[in-house]
Symmetry: C2
Subunit: 426 residues, 2 copies
């Protein structure tokens, strides 16, 4: 953990995206994508053997495997999962946009028809850990949107199975189909379809560098949610904040990933010192201390600022994924926060609450992308069609203007399609 | 124009995305992007000389150039432009989402705070034609969203100027700054900033293959609207439709681009024949007949179907950018249309109306992407922050569930951040 001044830190933020793009990495990813497009299941089998070290007869999780999963998880887990499902559902139903129509003047009806995406795919990372919460946070908004076919792709464990917590979460949220396929090959399979994997229209969910890059490549042929970078937390604290709470929250972020960033912006030098001590102390007790210490030493920062105004400017520049406001009268700062994925207000709203249970989505814009993007939500699984209806008279009102503009763009065929209707109208 | 059966055509649609990705093209685009990132304005000068054939002293359009632009366009043009601006504004204000808060139970406040993106860039194609309507359709929603700095990048003409229609549209919609820079170099400059070009957080607007590819590469570091492919129109017609109208509308799409697709789906074989005749007849009178005939012969299709149900299935599979419904009782079909960028209802709602004047955005999902994406809108220039506030008591209610879920994911630091608050609460 390093204590720095705002000015120093601002330079670090500006350098955040300074890494130039590397085509060699893309070549590897593209080889996999093209192979899956051309060879379908054969390619999937090959990559699954190569990367996951398993030979699978069938990529689709069977009913028996789902049944088995229920015997492998605790009652307590299922009960907590269902409680989380309920809360996430309650929040997300509020997001659902409706179709609307307006009559703007005589003979003009305009509107927006909102419809669900038909089929979507969720990538759920596997490997060392299992993420049932990823299933909830992706499948629930898709379900509320009205998506009719939700599939999951997740890498198989060495025994050829999928983690039972993930399977139970999939079943409880109405996922249609779970494929035991991981990596770039899973993204390609869902984007283009194979004999076994059904093509979807959109792919969401986190993943490693291969998954992220594959999503970038298939983007345009299918929709994607976002390119997730390393995750971060930012705590805004004044002298009234509880340093032990703040330290625990910073460390909960740090344990995710060595590249995760835990940042505190504070108006109090005294608090900065206390926090530093708390972080160092708690770090040594952590189960995942190797990952967390790496993150804290490389990206952990305590930024001491002169005033709350300066603090807010720094925060808006960071555009953190998670922002915890631990100051006196935290609600008062809200109108000044422009860039943040999720804002946690007060000492009893830690990030972990939002990761699992609060209701809002935990899929948030990382690495400063909160400056231009938002949490995953119901709208990411819907799309809008504009509706335009003009009567003959209404068109006549604007016909000459359309012709003028079309001709300024030298699109005379456009002008003609209006002119002929005007003729008829006379 | 080719008359085909639905089954035949469905195969064509499935092959729409079959082209495999080509890394050599990306290498060229990346060279430009990296060069601009490393060398800033020097690189911009070099590429502008190379691709646009002009040496510019200054990339920024001056006040004098804006003044001159007003002397070069007609009064009629300005008046039609302002009328379009008004109508586009009237529609888009209806789209603006508001922040909201809900109190879901004792001690729990959740919400969504909606804020504008701070700075955005619009790419406006130059070359042979000028597109003031592109300026309207991008700048107006950005302005309504509350974006504080809107910039345009557009390639200079051979005389080093920008088309006056574009400049007038920029001025009238409150664009802050117009840069005379085009191609992939313009996208890189707006994404990363140079000495002259200010970095933005999001880039929207159409462009050639280089521009589209550059947008795909910078996506993630900045937001982008969509990867625009060739544009298309689909007319749904029964025996009551006016073949001359339909033909003119198909041709208005065909004149855009040789790769544009003009498609009619009809339940009437008789109408198919009439339409064929009308298209061929009108084609020869068109100013842009070279482009249009190429489009019509390569991608023009009349699909004859057995029933309205079959027609709608085919349409949903095509997911057209523009859908014109020219059947008896067109409104009745609306609830069955799942995938379309914009839906034009009835004989007096041609595509050209929507391109300039109806109100809804003309930046629409192309090449089947309407299956998972939407027209550009005000929301594309805003982002949402989730709001989470729990009191001590409210957190206590869910603390054990969070701990169970965090431990199922082996994120014990997350569990600890909750456990210590529970301790405090007891």
């Amino acid at each position: 953990m390093k204590i720095v001044k705002a000015a120093e830190f601002t330079v670090e933020i500006d350098q955040r995206n300074e890494q130039l793009i590397d085509l060699d990495f893309d070549r590897n990813v593209l080889t996999i994508i093209n192979d899956v497009r051309m060879n379908g299941d054969v390619a999937l089998h090959m990559y699954t053997e190569k990367f996951d070290g398993v030979t699978l007869e069938n990529f689709i999780v069977t009913d028996d495997e789902f049944d088995e999963a229920y015997t492998l998880v605790s009652e307590t887990f299922i009960s907590s999962l269902l409680k989380a499902k309920q809360r996430i559902t309650d929040f997300h139903v509020e997001q659902k946009e409706r179709s609307w129509f307006i009559r703007q003047e005589k003979g003009v009806v305009l509107g927006q028809q909102v419809t669900p995406i038909e089929r979507t795919g969720i990538y759920v990372p596997g490997g060392k850990a299992a993420y049932p919460s990823t299933v909830l946070m992706n499948a629930i908004p898709a379900k509320i949107a009205g998506v009719s076919h939700i599939a999951i792709a997740t890498p198989p464990q060495p025994d050829g199975k999928v983690n039972p917590h993930v399977l139970v979460a999939a079943k409880e949220t109405g996922v249609e189909c779970v494929y035991k396929v991981g990596g770039a090959q899973a993204i390609a399979a869902m984007a283009y379809g194979t004999e076994t994997v059904r093509k979807v229209m959109k792919i969401t969910g986190p993943g490693n560098a291969y998954v992220a890059r594959a999503k970038k490549w298939v983007f345009g042929d299918v929709g994607i949610d976002m390119i997730a970078g390393p995750s971060e937390i930012c705590v805004l604290a004044d002298e009234t904040a509880n340093a032990a709470f703040a330290a625990a929250d910073l460390l909960s972020q740090a344990e995710h990933d060595e590249r995760a960033a835990a940042i505190c912006v504070t108006t109090s030098e005294l608090f900065a010192g206390e926090l530093m001590t708390e972080v160092e102390m708690r770090l040594s007790d952590m189960e995942r201390r190797e990952i967390a210490s790496r993150s804290i030493s490389d990206f952990g920062r305590i930024i001491v600022v002169e005033s709350m105004n300066e603090a807010i400017e720094v925060l808006n520049k960071i555009a953190p994924e998670h922002l915890q406001i631990m100051v006196d009268n935290p609600m008062a700062t809200l109108p000044y926060i422009r860039n943040a994925g999720a804002i946690f207000i007060g000492p009893f709203s830690p990030e972990a609450l939002g990761d699992y249970m609060a209701g809002p989505n935990h899929t948030l814009p990382t690495s400063g992308t909160a400056a231009f993007s938002s949490a995953l939500g119901v709208n990411d699984f819907m799309k809008k069609s504009s509706i335009i209806h003009y009567t003959e008279e209404a068109l006549k009102e604007v016909a000459d203007d359309i012709i003028v503009l079309a001709e300024a763009e030298r699109l005379t065929g456009h002008a003609e399609s209006i002119r002929m209707r005007k003729g008829e109208a006379e």
